[in-house]
């Protein structure tokens, strides 16, 4: 049986379960009654900066005490079985957090030992994981001298060195150039796709999440705005488009009115048409009938983009 399939069969049906999970910092609600039931997979935790993504992860890992509510990780109660949970969980924090004075492979070996691997196994796993994340001879250099890219790779290596069932990655592409970002995302993608390790990727970049995740959780101001599969979110379109025409704006508006499609002329000169159809074909047919050649048709954003924009707006409104 392939390893990936085996891992998936062994995983509990729900990896994360939370009920009215709340976290308060002073007067600020970082998490406000989060209710989630998350199945294994590649999960994207999306939201603007300060939305509560990192706090959510930290509460699950017990790095932050929960103010109220309850949470289960891998079927175990968070707060009661901390060590046992963390033995099966990997975590890459957003900020640098190496142990000074250690060389790369020594650091990863030490992290493996902290998770309970005996020294020989830990050392071997450390080298395997450093190979996996693409670190070469620099593993024998002191961590303090690493570049941002190397530190991100090292953080990933220490998070998976003990072969966890679920890995939490907090902004793993921060500070990386596009090539570095692509490489890290590729590695993260393979963790679930090929090796069956559930990945929770927290990011404020829609592109990162869109690229590798199957499930999306969008958080804003400590609340879950949406939790669905990427496929569902992308297919949920509201059926609108912006048509860019050089002239005859009024002809287009009149034709739309005849079809009973609400439309409006935007300040930028585009005509926004609510055609209410899944595809753009009816709109294209109408334009063809009018013998109107559009300069551009901008399809409506899908639900993922829309909810993300909504999250951003909520966040901006709060500030």
């Amino acid at each position: 049986m392939p390893v990936r399939t085996m891992r998936r069969e062994m995983s509990p049906s729900l990896v994360i379960e939370t009920e009215a999970l709340s976290k308060v910092f002073g007067q600020q609600w970082a998490l406000d009654g989060v209710n989630l039931k998350v199945a294994p997979g590649a999960i994207g935790l999306l939201g603007p900066n300060g939305a509560g993504k990192s706090t959510f992860m930290k509460c699950l890992l017990q790095l932050q005490p929960i103010t109220s509510g309850s949470a289960k990780l891998l079927g175990r109660e968070v707060g009661r079985e901390g060590r046992e949970i963390r033995k099966r969980v990997g975590y890459t924090p957003e900020q640098d957090c190496h142990i000074p004075g250690m060389v790369g492979c020594e650091y990863v070996t030490y992290c493996a030992q902290l998770c309970g691997l005996p020294f020989d196994a830990a050392r071997q796993r450390a080298h395997e994981m450093l190979d996996f994340v693409g670190m070469g001879q620099e593993r024998y250099r002191k961590v303090d001298t690493y570049s941002t890219g190397m530190k991100q790779r090292l953080k990933l290596a220490q998070a998976i060195v003990h072969d966890p069932e679920i890995v939490f990655l907090d902004e793993p592409t921060n500070g990386l150039d596009p090539k570095g970002q692509a490489q890290i995302l590729e590695l993260v993608h393979s963790l679930w796709k090929t090796y069956g390790i559930t990945v929770v990727l927290s990011s404020h970049l829609l592109h990162d999440v869109d690229r590798i995740c199957e499930q999306i959780i969008i958080i804003a101001r400590g609340r879950v705005l949406v939790h669905d599969t990427l496929e569902n979110l992308k297919s949920r379109k509201r059926g609108s488009a912006e048509v860019v025409v050089a002239d005859r704006h009024h002809d287009l508006q009149a034709a739309c009115a005849r079809q009973q499609w609400p439309c409006e002329l935007l300040p930028n000169g585009h005509v926004k048409v609510e055609h209410k159809c899944e595809s753009l074909n009816p709109l294209l047919n109408l334009l063809h009938e009018l013998k109107l050649a559009p300069l551009e048709i901008i399809p409506s954003p899908n639900a993922l983009e829309e909810t993300f924009v909504q999250a951003l707006e909520l966040s901006h409104a709060a500030t």
Partner: protein, 331 residues
């Protein structure tokens, strides 16, 4: 292209137990401490001192036994000294438990308090490695995300400090006791010297616990290595200077020095004053010499402020615990 398989591999071996993981933290801390060249030098110096102590005990042992090589050798140079040595031999034969016990108890009291200073010095070098660096580099988050709790982390760090003190203090003292008695001509010395060892263990283990906890507190005070190191050494030195002055002004101020408190505990555990008095009574020659000791010194030796020292030491430990509780957390 890599020559070997670089894909991800799963692992399903047997995990280390909780104590194994705590030991990993302690061992890592000790290894990091011993990377410091100067610290290694002090460790060597401590063990070198233990060897000197062993040699001294060997000579003392020879003096206490009839017709030993040393006594004969002394006789070649100074017949008077040989007579004194023969007197000591008689003393040993008459009161073996007093002669060996008293001698070794006093010697180990001085040796313990001497090596305690070396140990405090070494602990100062290790202060940044205990908690300060982890606070500065956010490594606390890494520890907290692994299969260890905050308690396990602190226990590991405590063991690092404790281990370091065992290496520079209790280890050399116990080794000196063992080797010193092993080299005596009469193996009954082991039995008669048991009180000295007992005192060493009681004082050593309790003081190491207190000092390790206080050191953890100091280490958690700041995130700058120089700051925590400076706090430790300044506290130690200033305390050492203030304690003798405070005795004439505000005696309670003496207890602000952790070193003074430990010395008082040492006096209460070893009772060197009693041994000196016993020696005065049973050896007339020695009695004349010891009568030169100032009365204040004898009073200080005989009346240590044990409970005051314990109270203030526990207060310092409590303060350290508060600092650790407030400072050592993931965020």
């Amino acid at each position: 292209m890599p020559l070997h398989d670089i894909s991800y591999k799963h692992w399903d071996g047997v995990h280390l137990g909780l104590w194994g993981r705590r030991l990993v933290i302690a061992r890592n801390g000790l290894t990091a401490c011993l990377r410091n060249k100067w610290l290694r030098h002090v460790v060597v110096l401590c063990w070198g001192t233990a060897l000197i102590m062993t040699a001294f005990l060997f000579i003392v042992g020879q003096l206490l036994v009839a017709d030993s090589i040393v006594v004969q050798w002394i006789g070649n140079f100074n017949p008077g000294l040989q007579s004194f040595a023969r007197f000591l031999t008689t003393w040993l034969e008459q009161h073996p438990e007093i002669s060996v016990r008293t001698t070794q108890n006093v010697l180990f009291y001085f040796f313990c308090t001497y090596l305690l200073r070396a140990s405090i010095f070494v602990l100062g070098m290790a202060i940044p490695i205990l908690i300060t660096r982890d606070l500065a580099s956010n490594a606390i988050i890494i520890y907290s995300s692994k299969a260890v709790s905050r308690g396990d982390y602190l226990l590991g760090k405590f063991s690092t400090a404790f281990g370091l003190m065992a290496l520079t203090w209790l280890g050399p003292v116990c080794a000196a006791w063992f080797l010193g008695n092993l080299l005596t001509p009469d193996w009954r010395f082991f039995w008669h010297a048991r009180t000295a060892l007992w005192h060493v263990l009681v004082f050593g283990l309790s003081s190491m616990t207190l000092l390790s906890l206080i050191a953890l507190g100091v280490s958690a005070l700041a995130i700058k290595e120089k700051t925590t190191t400076a706090i430790w050494y300044i506290w130690w030195i200033v305390g050492g200077v203030v304690a003798p002055i405070a005795i004439h002004t505000q005696p309670w101020l003496q207890h602000l020095s952790f070193n003074y408190n430990l010395n008082q505990i040492a006096l209460a555990v070893f009772h060197p004053g009693d041994d000196l008095t016993a020696a005065q009574d049973s050896i007339p020659v020695l009695g004349d010499m010891l009568r030169n000791i100032r009365p204040q010194t004898m009073t200080a030796l005989n009346t240590p402020t044990f409970w005051g020292a314990v109270f203030w030491s526990l207060l310092m430990v409590g303060l350290a615990a508060l600092i650790i509780r407030k400072r050592v957390k993931p965020e």
